[in-house]
């Protein structure tokens, strides 16, 4: 039965599901960054006309999903399953969005790796014939995450140099068994393989060192993916991690070089969404983080670049740091996780 499994951790998506719709939305600060053009919508006010930050995040997720369905030319009724997650306690943002969307819903939590987690599971469901079309997404909001995990926004504290800035953003994609929305002859993105990552704990205890906490997991998943598929890193035009940020990206590159990968190839084929979303002048210290970071960069810039022919093959690896609001206080370390999905333009 399990004939689609290759190697230790990778599955082959035999029917190569199509990614036929994408939608993303960004907050004010994200809209001032280098990726401003790649957002479908940019908020003037991060409250988004709502009464609470949580409601605003929920509305953002819904807006990204509506846009993705519009591009896919599908109605809610045509979507079989909605898979998404966020960072807020018991993923209430996604649950409330699912309540409003009224689509069968699988809530997922993979911390900031949620975008790839939902995309991997969704693609597998479509590939296996369990669903015709699914929608996968993730969201995060600076103000909801910051008050939950760190300090209240108004609190007068200085952010350490390694601290990352939670992105106020959401992204969603529609994965389908057939590319109805895309005209014949036009480029279409398909999912080819997926690698499910293990939880890797390198023993980091500092909640302001997320990049360093997640990098070993990303390295582990990437090396396993390359081994399972028998590929080298330059098979992909771009290998992109979720939100390692500047520090995590450097660590990742260093660890990959240690593992025997060619340094020039790493340099020219690897990047991180957390270093793409903001410019260094925006004073975000370690770069961007949050579910919305990789979700909005992927559903915006990366897919757009693929459609326009800039990249033919991409390996998307969102990375998550697994901590709760209390686990660091109990002296627990912060393990990381990363999942990977290979995408190809046809």
């Amino acid at each position: 039965m399990a004939n689609r499994k290759i190697g230790a951790q990778t599955v082959q998506l035999e029917n190569r599901p199509y990614i036929i719709g994408r939608g993303n939305i960004g907050g004010k600060k994200e809209g001032e960054g280098p990726l401003a053009d790649s957002f479908d919508q940019i908020l003037d006010d991060d409250m988004f006309g709502e009464k609470s930050w949580e409601k605003a995040e929920c509305k953002m997720l819904e807006a990204a999903m509506e846009k993705a369905m519009m591009r896919a030319q599908l109605k809610k009724e045509n979507i079989d399953i909605m898979l998404c997650g966020d960072l807020i306690n018991q993923i209430m943002t996604s649950s409330f969005a699912a309540r409003d969307m009224h689509i069968p819903f699988l809530g997922l939590y993979g911390a900031c790796s949620t975008m790839t987690e939902s995309l991997v599971i969704g693609s597998m469901l479509v590939d296996g014939g369990f669903a015709r079309s699914i929608i996968a997404g993730a969201s995060s909001h600076f103000c909801t995450a910051e008050r939950q995990f760190r300090m209240p926004v108004e609190h007068g504290n200085q952010r350490p140099t390694s601290a990352q800035w939670t992105a106020t953003a959401a992204g969603a994609v529609v994965v389908s068994e057939w590319p109805h929305a895309i005209a014949k002859g036009m480029p279409v993105v398909r999912a080819t393989e997926a690698t499910i990552g293990k939880v890797i704990d390198a023993g980091i205890r500092d909640a302001n060192q997320m990049g360093a906490a997640m990098a070993p997991a990303a390295v582990d998943t990437l090396l396993n993916h390359l081994q399972d598929t028998g590929r080298d890193i330059d098979y992909y035009d771009l290998v992109v991690t979720g939100d390692l940020g500047y520090i995590g990206k450097d660590i990742m590159a260093d660890l990959l070089a240690d593992a025997g990968l060619d340094k020039n190839k790493i340099f020219s084929h690897y990047d991180d969404c957390g270093t793409m979303l903001f410019s260094k002048e925006q004073d975000v210290h370690g770069g961007a983080s949050g579910c919305g970071c990789s979700a909005s960069v992927f559903a915006g810039k990366l897919l757009k670049d693929m459609e326009q022919g800039k990249y033919r093959r991409i390996l998307l690896m969102s990375t998550g740091a697994l901590l709760s609001t209390i686990s660091p206080y109990q002296g627990e370390s912060i393990p990381g996780i990363a999942h990977a999905i290979a995408l190809e333009v046809e």
Binding site: V153, H155, N157, G203, I251
Partner: protein
């Protein structure tokens, strides 16, 4: 017997895990930019010093108006607390603190800010269990530790006085 061995193994595993964590933490530190110790300290020194000097000027002024030293000091504290809380409400305090750091956190202004900041953030959770409870999420520990320590000191001094 077997249980004991596995316990020992677990302990060893824990120890190993800790060592890996330490080594990796050190390795990760190479990639982390160091904080600007010197310029941060200079900024904190100047801002903190200025707040104290301004407080002294107001205190002298109040005393010249005829208030006792103790009362004048209390009014100065009240004024600083109220000002810091107002600035927090207006969303200005965190902008100042971003540059001044400990210069505004260590004076009583930091204590005042630490009460309003979480309280304002949890407004949507209601005036009792939201704002009311969160007013003490940071200030609570400060009051608990400070008052407990002082009470112990009081009792010890009472003992010394008595016997």
């Amino acid at each position: 017997m077997a249980l004991q061995i596995s316990e020992e193994k677990n302990k060893e595993k824990e120890k190993q895990k800790k060592e890996i964590g330490k080594a990796y933490g050190k390795y990760a530190k190479q990639f982390t930019p160091r904080p600007k110790y010197f310029s941060n300290s200079v900024k904190a020194f100047i801002v903190g010093g200025l707040i104290c000097t301004a407080a002294l000027a107001v205190q002298n002024r109040l005393q010249a108006m005829g208030l006792s030293q103790k009362d004048a000091g209390t009014f100065v504290t009240i004024g600083l607390v109220a000002l810091a809380q107002l600035l927090t409400g207006l969303g200005i305090f965190d902008v100042i603190a971003k540059h001044a750091g400990a210069g505004v956190i260590v004076p009583i202004t930091g204590f005042a800010n630490s009460m309003v900041a979480p309280a304002i953030e949890y407004k949507k959770e209601g005036p009792v269990l939201g704002t009311g409870a969160k007013l003490f999420s940071v200030a609570g520990p400060v009051l608990v530790c400070g008052i407990s320590a002082a009470t112990v000191v009081g009792i010890i001094y009472w003992f010394i006085e008595k016997f």
